[in-house]
């Protein structure tokens, strides 16, 4: 029987991937849950004991948690706002007739392909350095005092760097969506005497609603766990000013070696990400049927 044979084959081919992903998802997660209920510090081996929800109580009432939750939300919200508010006009611009468009597009996309450690260090040193950075020199040209970015506005500095990395992503997706917009609809609106602004508000913007949602959801998933940029520029400081949840968990795990508390924090991060993932999966799923 050809079809039965095919189906058996199909299942056999699918199994390794499913099994691997299942193990990848279940084993570490189960261990995280298990560790989260233990008093477990790597510096104090042999003292592991069951403490129930104590780690969660400790992690959630730690002032560092509230600070890092706030930083996480500010960071995610700001980068989303910046990349979309700049990304929409940029995508509209690249959708126009531009001489040498392919080169312009390459320049716009480039930051997305730069590894996070490189972009963070180049921005921190070559651009944002308070004495020898290019921004300090530009400020000086205008007779303004130089900004000591990583002391005076550390979180904002991190936000700027990350926005630079993600602006190309937002722009590219919005541009792709714009190019699928029916030209005739716009033409008809123009013939009917619609102004450029009302064409934008009533035709272009509604068309962009879905891609904007997708950008928001995907960026949020990546931005919730921003790590490398903070790791190489500020190390979470000064104080806790640039510590986000991901960095807090990292420092509890690999600096303080507090496995129990870091695991509890890890689960909090999983829950946060899942709230976003829930919506993204639904949108993608709806698209799968279409």
């Amino acid at each position: 029987m050809a079809t039965q044979q095919t189906q058996l084959l199909a299942r056999t081919l699918l199994t390794p991937a499913v099994a691997l992903l299942f193990i990848w998802m279940i084993v570490p997660l189960a261990l995280t849950i298990y560790f989260a209920t233990l008093h477990y510090n790597l510096l104090d081996p042999g003292s592991e004991s069951f403490v129930g929800l104590e780690n969660f109580r400790y992690f959630l009432t730690d002032p560092a948690f509230l600070a890092s939750l706030q930083n996480t939300l500010v960071l995610v919200g700001s980068v989303l706002a910046i990349t979309i508010i700049l990304g929409v006009p940029l995508a509209l611009l690249l959708d126009q007739q531009v001489v040498g468009l392919s080169i312009v597009r390459l320049m716009v996309i480039a930051p997305f392909f730069v590894m996070p450690t490189v972009s963070a260090l180049v921005w921190k040193n070559l651009l944002m350095h308070p004495v020898s950075g290019l921004f300090a020199w530009i400020a000086h040209l205008f007779g303004l005092p130089a900004i000591d970015w990583f002391n005076d506005a550390p979180l904002f500095a991190v936000i700027l760097i990350i926005s630079w990395q993600w602006l190309p992503f937002a722009t590219l997706i919005l541009l792709t969506a714009l190019q699928s917009l029916d030209e005739e609809q716009k033409e008809a609106a123009e013939m009917d005497g619609a102004s450029a602004i009302s064409t934008f508000i009533y035709i272009t913007l509604p068309h962009l609603a879905r891609p904007i949602t997708v950008v928001i959801l995907i960026e949020t998933i990546f931005l919730l766990t921003v790590f490398a940029e903070i790791f190489v520029t500020t190390g979470g400081g000064p104080g806790l000013q640039t510590t986000n949840i991901a960095f807090l968990i990292y420092s509890q795990a690999l600096i303080q070696y507090d496995v129990g508390s870091a695991s509890a924090g890890g689960l909090v991060a999983v829950v946060l990400a899942n709230i976003v993932a829930f919506f993204l999966v639904r949108i993608v799923g709806r698209n799968l049927e279409a």
């Binding site: 997660l29 320049m107 490189v118 070559l126 590219l172 790590f227 991901a246 991060a269 999966v281």
Partner: protein, 276 residues
Amino acid sequence: MARMVTTRRKVISTAAAWLVGFLIFFPILWMVLASFKTELEAFAIPPSFLFFHWTTENYVTVQERSDYFHHALNSIIIAGGSTLIAMLIAIPAAWSMAFSPTKRTKDVLLWMLSTKMMPPVGVLVPIYLIFRTVGLLDTRTGLVFILCLGNLPIVIWMLFTYFKEIPKDILEAARMDGATIGRELIYVLTPMAVPGLASTLLLNLILAWNEAFWTLNLSTLEAAPLTVFIASYSSPEGLFWAKLSAASTLAIAPILVLGWFSQRQLVRGLTFGAVK
């Protein structure tokens, strides 16, 4: 029918687009310029934009002092290895879901996608401890393994969307002509799937090359790829701008070239087909 575009409007949008493009690209350009300066000039105020003493000594020093190629090789092995293994696991899976879908296929796909949503930091502790116990910390094997699993959902998804576009009639025709599944795979499916396979490979190479959570946390020296090598420049005592720039330029150049080739697939791969 194309809209009438006045010359004036075209000139304005061209000028605006080039200006914005240049501004966005500028940090990269500035880094490349700094890599050809002496340390003194890289630090100088006012900065020199083009009229400085061009030198390639930084590139030589980066290799001599820090064994750049060792880390570049690590990057190649880790990114290449993890991507290839992920492809080997994903191709059969995506093939089976695209050509023999069952009632559960959609659920399986969405479940795979949801594994990608798991924040890496949520499982950092157990992975670190497992790696420590079995001696995988700071090994290329360990990183290949983790990055392979991390990117597997994206690889499967991208391949699935490409495979689904291959017309099924052709496969049926081949089957009618008596082709076995093996032959069908090699002579019919593969040639049609090559573009999709290539783009998937390319995008995931890029993602793995730039991965900077697991690499920073699970490797220090021996297995450290370029992401970690560059991070070592962040310590204040080792702050050499021109050398940092040279090392960075080398680290991003190959991937920038690949990235420019794969910009169309980027949208598809990272939005899981939600934007076309």
